[in-house]
Amino acid sequence: MTLTPKDDLRHHLRPGPHSRESLFYDLVLPDEGLLVFTYTWVNADEQAGHLFAVVGDDNEKLAFSATDGVGSGGRDFDDWRVPGDTGEVWVKHTDLLRGASYGASAEGAGFTAELTVEFTGTHEAFDYARNEDGCPDFIADNRFEQGSRSRGTLTLNGREIHFDTTGHRDHSWGTRDWDAIQDWKWISAQVDDDLQLNVMVLHARGETTYHGYVVADGELQPVVHAKTRATYDANWWQKSLHMTILDAAGRRTEVAGDRYALLNFQAGERITLNEAAFRGTINGREARMHFENGWDRSYSDAQIRRLGGSLLAGS
């Protein structure tokens, strides 16, 4: 399957309980100690949702808006908008597979936030169908990932934070069967516009598969394997990461980092998601990264009980 520009727009979804299409826009601001998380989705019944969060560490929600079941109004991703009672997410895919603008707002007790971002892809969009392990049918028909130069402004409680930094996005469509997934680790990391990567290690039905890419030395190569060693705090939130990535050209890429921000939320009845922003390095060079862990909640709860953490620490 080769991506075409129209893959940056909406796809036909087969009806079903797990059928969905989603966009995720990632912004990691280590100098501010912030993770800015912008996520929106729609299902086969044209019901849309959003999750927008500006978080510090330990699930501290400095601004937050979430909604679901909002009629799409027939919109496509060239002019996408999901309003809710607590805020809004909007996206404009105007330069298909290359660039976009997006933004969000949130207002609640004691906070206001407004985000506007110009997203410029720094390499070709990479779809998981290109990996040796493909794109498993229980996560999507296909899914692409792309690093960026992201410029814009976050206004948080009246304070303007201007940024010109690296970022990341993904876009997936098809079936997301949360029940089949035992756990996964997803990371996007960038040193600058020339050294960027995305890796997903997916564990389902007793098998582990590897997805993503490394851009280095002007060359994008699919990931073929990744060895991960992470540590966790008492709430089973990831604290540190060491990852060795092997790509199709035989290159080894070393990633290391430590958490400075984290958002926890639940996806369905089984899965808990821990979204963490990390400061770290790629091959020894300073990098910013997003390290997501998804767990079967019964497993993560067992670890929390063992470690003496709080089962109520998450949202």
């Binding site: 029940d179 564990h203 007793g206 767990w295 079967d296 063992r306």
Partner: protein, 321 residues
């Protein structure tokens, strides 16, 4: 019973180990009170499996001591129906009678280790089953500490695994089966915390003449993959450094086939193919252990395998109900 003649070819120079592996002492066949008698989750266990795929049978004996005083054991004989073994006897608080692990009885299960680190003789009488098995190791016991991923402290302080040949006889429900074949045993001591495991594949196979065998454990833990085990061929045991195994699961998540490719520290490759013969879905705490005896090949040579896949029971329930 006597030991079968073993066919073990001379190791070639190019296959000599690059380093000395851990050696166990005869006392390691016995209890290790210093690490397994006290403390939370303290445990010592012995396991012996004798798959008989040509008869669609699997014989499995397992015993353990928890906290230094509480003994348990089970014996099962599985047939083709994963839902119900042909025979199951399980005692959670069994009286221990005997001398350490050299020669002892647990609620009708008589276990002897007449040749340290080499042989075991197991008998069971009762509840309609008569069972006698002799196990002869075809190589020295292998320590998980010899793998790069080591023996995690929540698995055990130490754990050894050993391929062997089996010879025995069982009588159940009027059916008597005499068998010779390949089997496996392990012995672990220390702490066991099952809560770390998300999934595992415990794979054991050997050719009946003892010329080749494989033990590999792939564990999914904390979202990471750990690999333990060895390849035994040409008379040399070498730690596995890389393993890739895939299971053909039916609609009840039972592995009807397993394929694997394994590499050891010597750069050798071994391929495993295995097909269902007999087994039982064994519930333990929050887990489901699918214990399956399989007809197999190791690098195309006929072999016998016991492959256990461990799952969180709720996960399996969610995908099969």
């Amino acid at each position: 019973m006597t030991s079968p003649e073993l066919s073990v070819s001379e190791p070639s120079l190019s296959h000599r180990p690059t380093r000395e592996l851990s050696r166990f002492s005869p006392d390691d066949d016995l209890l290790h009170d210093e690490v397994s008698a006290a403390g939370p989750l303290a445990r010592e266990s012995l396991l012996l499996t004798a798959p008989i795929p040509e008869e669609n049978l699997l014989v499995f004996c397992y015993l353990w001591r928890e906290g230094g005083t509480k003994w348990g054991r089970f014996v099962f004989v599985a047939g083709e129906d994963m839902a119900k073994p042909l025979f199951l006897s399980h005692v959670d608080d069994a009286p221990f009678e005997g001398e350490d692990l050299r020669d002892f009885t647990l609620a009708g299960l008589h276990w002897r280790q007449p040749e340290p680190l080499k042989a075991a003789e197991v008998s069971f009488r009762g509840e309609g089953l008569e069972l006698d098995i002799r196990f002869d190791g075809i190589h020295e016991p292998f320590s998980w500490h010899d793998n790069a991923d080591g023996c995690p402290e929540w698995v055990a302080h130490e754990r050894f695994e050993q391929s062997g040949v089996t010879r025995g006889r069982l009588t159940l429900n009027g059916r008597t089966v005499e068998f010779t074949g390949a089997g496996h045993r392990d012995h672990s001591w220390g702490t066991r915390d099952w809560n770390y495991l998300q999934h595992w594949k415990w794979m054991n196979a050997a050719t009946p003449d003892g010329a080749a065998s494989l033990h590999c454990m792939i564990m999914s833990v904390k979202g990471e993959t750990l690999v333990n085990g060895y390849i035994n061929t040409a008379g040399v045991v070498s730690p596995i450094v890389d393993a890739r195994a895939t299971a053909d699961l039916d609609d009840q998540m039972i592995h009807r086939g397993v394929s694997g490719v394994f590499h050891d520290e010597l750069g050798r490759e071994m391929r495993l193919e295995a097909h269902y013969a007999a087994g039982w879905s064994m519930p333990i705490q929050h887990l489901l252990l699918n214990e399956i005896g399989m007809a197999a090949t190791l690098d195309d040579a006929p072999a016998t395998a016991h492959i256990e896949l461990g799952w969180p029971a709720d996960y399996v329930k969610g995908l099969t109900s």
